[in-house]
Amino acid sequence: MKEEKDFALVLRELSKLYENGFQALSGINLEVESGDFFALLGPNGAGKSTTIGIICSLIRKTGGVVKIFGRDTDINFSSAKKLIGIVPQEFNFNQFEKPIDILVTQAGYYGISRSVALKRAKKYLTLLGLWDKRGVSSRVLSGGMKRRLMIARALVHNPKLLILDEPTAGVDIELRRSMWEFLQDINEAGTTIILTTHYLEEAENLCRNVAIINHGRIEQHTSVKSLVRQLQVQTFSLDIKDKLPQVPVVGGYQIRKVDDHVIEVDVLRNQTINPLIAGLSDQSIEVVSMSHKTNRLEELFLKIIEKNESK
């Protein structure tokens, strides 16, 4: 059986009651294994950022325990904090400083000497494509560059646990993909990663385990694979070559007409799609292309939230 020190993060009965009476967290229990790539999902106001704020000590908890690699943040405050790197949702660096200075200063706060900090700053700024910008004022960097700068800053003290709060919010697709690759690389190198995201595709592509949080409670805590397995129905969108006079009928499939050239088909998990294509061919309907209509995880996520709210 695993001990608490084997987990990167352990939350026990974590609660937060704000002074205005808002109960942001109601006794959260969560375990994140060392080396994991973990997603914390939830709608706005669910308690994701409050949880992260408490873990990195920017928000004071009203109850419960936080342990980072077995170190209680109330008891081993300093050594627990050394193990965490945080990338917040909003830019929170001094916009008038240069990227290189931001990293070296941040390293200094962790007791890392300037000579070592300079080497690490060069390493992470290079990896994140910012080395050429090391000497410019940070306020002139683009939004994507600023976000990468915050990731470099969070890594400069070599944390064992990296926490990212909506890291790719507002980032274009190309940059998002390159950030995913970077995060996968550092995860493979041994850094445990926890991220919150609204892009559920992100969680599906990157993460091994996931927790869904809503109204300050953990609704589901499972692997991404097992979450996806819960999907009973997948929806496919089919582009049809010729104009459809009416909705085609194929036995065993729910088909809806979207427009004269597009239909949507619900396919159960235990069904294959070969009979569907054959049935359409028999009716002289030629399928030009086929795609998933929705993000499957997103659909499931909404179902879980709705199901728990209706209880």
């Binding site: 704000y18 002074e19 704020g53 990195c56 000590s57 920017l58 928000i59 004071r60 405050f77 300093s78 050594s79 904090k81 050394k82 965490i84 945080i86 917040p88 909003e90 830019f91 929170n92 660096f93 001094n94 916009q95 200063t105 941040q106 200094g108 706060y109 962790y110 007791g111 890392i112 000497s113 800053r153």
Partner: protein, 257 residues
């Protein structure tokens, strides 16, 4: 963190603070020096020559220590309040709050940063004053000790103001409506012996009176108040403000919700 790491963290804050005020030297160094030069010109030379002597000193010599102290107080206070509040406003204070740097080191780093600016401006103002007046130093030890302690005290006070501040207005209220009147009424330009007994007694509750007089004593050996009492009071004020700041750094909802 071990001692070496704590030392690095402390020096990181100090160096960052010093770099900050040196980077914006046209805002932080030049204006107070120009203002004090004007004070010396007007009160020391133009008006001072007509006033004659005060406490047995030529007026320009009498006013010089007070003006140096005035620049040290306002710049020590101003550096910490604007830097810490600026970090709160830009939220880059979170860089420090999430780090393992102990609160006492964060506070000490800001204080030393504030002292560095206050003392640098004080040194430049002292050099400028030599163009307008001559003065000897009666007790360098007392002058140095009181200027260091005053600078420290007002750096802590600036930190306290910055924690409470919610807007840029909040960081100018105390300097404009509390600090400046206290400094001007703290015996920089006159001796309390000129006041009626009632107002002389009222002046005794102004802590800046003790600092200015002690500093002046360091230069001229002349004072209106008890030097030992002045040092005791500055020490106590600094200690109380330091402990309050430390507590707020740990508990204040203005830093950690």
């Amino acid at each position: 963190m071990n001692r070496y790491e704590i030392w690095i963290a402390f020096m990181t804050i100090v160096i960052r603070e010093v770099r900050r005020f040196l980077r914006i030297w046209p805002q932080t160094i030049i204006p107070p020096v120009v203002t004090m030069a004007l004070f010396f010109l007007i009160f020391g030379n133009v008006i001072g020559s007509r006033i004659g002597f005060m406490q047995g000193l030529p007026y320009s010599q009498f006013v010089a220590p007070g003006l140096i102290m005035l620049s040290v107080i306002t710049n020590s206070y101003g550096n910490v309040v604007s830097s810490f509040y600026g970090s709160k406003f830009q939220r880059n204070i979170e860089e420090l709050l999430v780090s393992p740097t102990p609160n006492i080191i964060i506070l000490s780093g800001y204080i030393v940063g504030g002292m560095a600016r206050g003392l640098l401006v004080g040194l430049i103002v002292s050099l400028v004053s030599l163009f307008f007046t001559d003065f000897s130093v009666f007790s360098p030890l007392i002058a140095l000790a009181i200027i260091l302690m005053t600078s420290m005290m007002f750096s802590v006070a600036g930190f306290l103001n910055a924690i409470y501040a919610n807007s840029f207005d909040d960081i100018s209220v105390i300097p404009n409506f509390v600090l400046t009147p206290l400094v001007y009424l703290g015996g920089v330009f006159y001796s309390t012996s000129l006041l009626s007994e009632f107002w002389a007694n009222v002046s005794l509750i102004n802590p800046i009176l003790y600092m200015v007089n002690t500093f002046r004593f360091g230069f001229s050996g002349v004072t209106d108040i008890d030097i030992f009492w002045a040092f005791t009071m500055v020490t106590l004020f600094t200690l109380v403000l330091f402990l309050i700041s430390l507590k707020l750094l740990r508990d204040s909802p203005r830093l950690r919700t």
